[in-house]
Symmetry: C2
Subunit: 393 residues, 2 copies
């Protein structure tokens, strides 16, 4: 196990009707003049925004609204948000939505006290200050409600890049699984895929002697395997929604990933797809992550066999562990197919002829990237090609 | 799943040589004049205290020392600590030790700004203020390094009682598994038993639809089952020590227990043993918890069968699930025996004739207590009796 630091100071408020406590928690965490940042009309139509505003008013907290966050959130709205916050002297940002809204809020939070271009933080610069951010989560997926990460897409050039800092970890996150019950099956499945991918990115590691985090990773995956088909079959199943929602947070605070090298190539490879095609991140991961597995599993057959046995319930083939490893990848694809996810470039709406451009955008040149297996541009090209026509399907 | 709030703001600094960062972290968390609270001579003899003092001096942080904390920490030293902190204008308490030292530090932290008797907080009163507490952990066991709990023994009357508040959650906890490598096998096994007990207290619940926390509980237990025999066989196995140390924290921040009713009768029943005989808490739990399981398992045979199958790797007996449930309890006892724990009153040095006094001290009168199964005084008497001569052994 490697040395590590783990810090997750977010206060999680979980359960039915908890959004009515938004005002109380903003007050507790020192907010007096709030930017409510949200996405499309569903937060308005469902009455959620009204309930939150009412709860802020009850605590005499003033607020300004900024909607319009799109999936794969854009830099353009971030600039608008930064300007608005400065004009209105905002001292607290409340994200009402899923990962896109939260990530956009985090970008604004870093940008407001910064004199330069906020995009600097998405090119490796570390922020020194940020406005406090909190969330009312409406989609179980990104884990952004409990992480110090944010991913933003630069509209001009379709660049999708990430930033990270403890300063943008949410002060509190209100998580009411009821709010996710209206989410259509496709988006629900995209979220579930994202959650599972967050775990797998940590699971496949070269660090040995990490039983506790291996087992915690498996705990989240086993939960997702049980609960996801239940919400696809019955979107209003509160308990299954609740299990998935908390699993999504546990998957990404990093408590399941501390003390070990992590991979994260699948996320990087996928980001180019959602940047170019504006597809859902989870759908892109459903296509890319098993293709990545197919490409790298020989690097550590027994680790893939472990996943097959412990996560997918495969029987270990002691005469030929590679068969078990391959069976695990097939199980993952079967599961993704059953919950309605695409498995190939074609199903995603991606085009084989764009592969050179995707690799070019990935932009690693002659270098290599990743934790579990270091990949070259050629390797990444091959993974995209596997995603065109997978073998282990 | 039940509604819940989860808040674990402790900054964990984990790994080799991390105690040398104590000064840096005290400074980061605002301490300027520190009480170093510790136990016996091992922290002195090993040079640990010197390294910590050096690291404080490097940051120009002044300090006062108070050693002498015993296992089952006493109120008498807490009073002394409170007096000392007031005299010296201490603004930060650094606990260097295991659960007893940390719990004593938490008691002092609540007592210093309080005009009344600190014992009030161990009789149900909630504190409004507390000095900040942090830890350098030397024993993997109590989980106090990441919890808002503290247990203190009143010397006059052998009363052992608990207090809880987010105010006493450590600001940071430095966790170097190397520091636990000198711990003798018996104390190591006591710690492991305590960790597993913290999980089982949460695992046996009447709350349904809690797959995520069930699986997280099982993750910690599976890790303990793998790693504990390795450190008993080779106390200097760093990686096994590291897995156990992080498992101990995960077991008790409550991340594995949120959203579900918990039991905690075994801890209460054990506390009377360690209060009366001054035995190790973990050893007492090894005697009491399986006895409690033997007494209550019929309340939910399938939950005990789930533990047997998922945690102990038993084959499910679909014709007679009760056999599986009983087999799981036997596995637990076998495991405890293998790591050198006592299983009976006699092995612990407890006496059957003290049972009426133990029940009397437990002090529930005509009431009932506990989460999974509500127990009367008569039930508790019966559990002590099972611990005299267990059946499932």
């Amino acid at each position: 196990m490697n040395n590590f630091q783990f810090y997750s100071p977010t206060e999680f408020v979980f359960g039915k009707d908890t959004e009515n406590q938004a005002g109380l928690y903003v007050k507790k965490h020192g907010g007096t003049n709030v930017l409510i940042h949200y996405g499309g009309g569903s937060a308005v139509k469902s009455g959620l925004l009204d309930r939150i505003k009412k709860s802020l008013e009850k605590e005499n907290i003033s607020y300004t609204e900024l909607g319009g966050v799109k999936p794969n959130p854009r830099d353009t709205l971030v600039y608008e948000g930064i300007k608005l916050c400065r004009e209105k002297n905002i001292d607290f940002i409340l994200a009402v939505g899923g990962g896109s809204v939260i990530d956009s809020s985090k970008a604004i939070a870093m940008g407001v006290p910064y004199e330069g271009d906020f995009w600097d933080f998405y090119c490796g610069k570390k922020p020194e200050k940020a406005l406090p951010v909190a969330t009312v989560l409406t989609i179980a997926a990104a884990g952004s409600e409990g992480s110090g990460d944010s991913v933003i897409t630069k509209e001009n050039g379709n660049l999708k890049r990430g930033a990270g800092s403890d300063l943008i970890r949410p002060r509190f996150s209100i998580m009411n699984p009821q709010l996710t019950c209206t989410l259509p099956p496709y988006q629900t499945a995209c979220g579930a895929t994202d959650i599972m991918a967050h775990v797998f990115e940590r699971y496949f590691t070269n660090t040995t002697e990490v039983e506790i985090t291996d087992r915690l990773c498996e705990a989240v995956l086993l939960t997702m395997i049980k609960e996801t088909p239940r919400v696809i079959a019955n979107p209003e199943n509160y308990d299954a929604r609740a299990n998935i929602m908390w699993a999504g947070t546990v998957a990404h605070t990093n408590i399941v990933g501390v003390g070990r090298e992590q991979d994260w190539n699948s996320h990087g490879i996928e980001h180019e797809l959602s940047a170019l095609y504006d597809c859902a991140h989870g759908a892109g991961l459903a296509v890319i992550m098993p293709a990545w597995m197919e490409f790298v599993y020989k690097h550590n057959v027994l680790r893939f066999a472990q996943a097959a046995v412990r996560v997918w319930g495969c029987q270990m083939n002691f005469e030929n562990p590679e068969n078990t490893a391959r069976e695990g990848i097939k199980c993952f694809r079967r599961f993704l197919h059953e919950i309605g996810m695409p498995l190939t470039f074609a199903e995603l709406g991606a085009r084989e002829e764009d592969i050179p451009a995707l690799v070019e955008k990935f932009g690693i040149g002659d270098g290599k990237t990743g934790g579990f297996v270091k990949l070259s541009a050629k390797d990444i090209e091959n993974i995209y090609k596997i995603a065109v026509s997978p073998e282990l399907i």
